[in-house]
């Protein structure tokens, strides 16, 4: 790792200023998935945090997940299962950090969550909610750059405008790393499972995703489609190249892609609605 890069890594992972996840999340992660006692314990832990409960319910009813009419935490446990509630707790905590930072990125992330969920369902994949969560969180590295490297972020944006580059190229030029790698560092720091950290770290280079290539491919394609749609604002003006490995892993074809675009566009109306309501809060 170059000097600049390791210095930056230190700055970014400096725990004094790094956004931390509520301790509730760590408690939840230490509980096992299926034991009945865990379920009861988990409902108790989550319900004890009013703010977190409210956020979880709001996100459960957001278009990224689309569970309608989930109104209590114990309801959510029964209807959605323990793993989904864990995912929700995690993403709602991370989003609390993100919301304040940038509306455009928040809309982009919600949309990629929605798209990833729809792609996963269409392909009949397992763990669709996990994949939606990975989609929601995939650009978390950008939030961290904005939070921690304010000056560098400005230079990156300038470079993107001046030389019509992709964000990731400008990031590499200015800070010698990129938002995907930073997202990866952060996921390690937060002890996120591989099925989340790989899509976050490798959504711009799917081949590097060794254990969860399928999930990473879904997030990559979701990101491409949302950028093609022009919805939200990720910071990039250009659609990235669809990586062959992702296309082949998901065995996509023209017909499926066309159907996905229709389904995703239909759902994006709800995302807009959701984000307008949130801004009104």
């Amino acid at each position: 790792m170059t000097d600049k890069r390791s210095k930056l890594k230190k700055i970014i992972l400096d725990t004094k200023t790094l956004p931390t996840l509520p301790s509730v999340i760590h408690k939840l992660n230490s509980l096992s998935d299926n034991e009945r006692s865990s379920v009861r314990e988990m409902a108790r832990i989550v319900s004890s945090d009013q703010v977190l409960s409210a956020r979880i319910l709001r996100l459960a009813n957001s278009p990224s997940y689309g569970f309608h009419k989930v109104s209590t935490i114990s309801n959510a446990m029964i209807l959605l299962g323990v793993n989904v509630v864990k995912s929700l707790a995690l993403s709602s905590s991370i989003f609390a950090i993100m919301e304040k930072e940038s509306v455009g990125l928040w809309e982009h992330s919600l949309a990629v969550g929605v798209a990833a969920n729809l792609i996963a369902r269409k392909l009949g994949l397992q763990e669709c909610e996990e994949i939606a969560t990975a989609g929601l969180l995939h650009d978390i590295g950008k939030v961290i750059i904005a939070l921690k490297c304010n000056e560098a972020e400005k230079s990156i944006l300038n470079l993107v405008n001046e030389r019509q580059m992709y964000c990731i190229e400008a990031e590499r030029e200015i800070i010698d790393t990129d938002h995907a790698e930073i997202g990866g560092w952060l996921s390690k720091n937060w002890f996120l499972p591989d099925k989340l950290s790989e899509p976050i770290a490798f959504h711009h280079n799917v081949a590097q995703s060794v254990h969860h290539c399928l999930k990473t491919s879904v997030v990559h394609i979701a990101d491409v489609i949302v950028k093609a749609s022009g919805f939200g604002c990720s910071g990039d003006c250009f659609v990235p190249q669809i990586e062959d490995i992702a296309w082949n892993t998901l065995q996509l074809n023209e017909k499926m892609l066309a159907e996905l675009v229709d389904e995703i566009e239909d759902k994006l109306i709800e995302v807009k609605n959701f984000s307008l309501e949130m801004m009104g809060d």
Binding site: H68, K69, Y166, V224, I225, K227, A228, S229, G230, C237, F238, V239, P240, Q241, I242, D244, W247, L252, E254, L257, A258, V261, D262, E265, D266, I269, E270, K272, N273, L276, E277
Partner: protein
Amino acid sequence: MQKIPLLLAREGMTLARDVFRGNASTGMPICGKGHELTTSLIERFDKLEVQAVYVEGHPVWEEGGASLDNLLCALDGRFIKTMHNPQNAMLHTIYKAYLIKSMGGDCDRQAE
């Protein structure tokens, strides 16, 4: 025809599709297509958790009134770096067709 968030629905717009409770697409419609929207009707939809409605024409113009030409031009701009890749070119074609379909009020109405 255009699908719009309920927040942007206004009195005087005409429903292009039946409206269902809570955005389901089956069951008993709570209001039939062809109805003209009123403020009280919009409030009622809101209570019944309707999120979006389909209306006649294209009454809502996002981003300072982008026309189909503008939208297609922006689409081309977004794809400028990746048209050489066959899958990207395919996605571009799909989006182009999608935009034409969603903006072409009249031909769309015939098709439904």
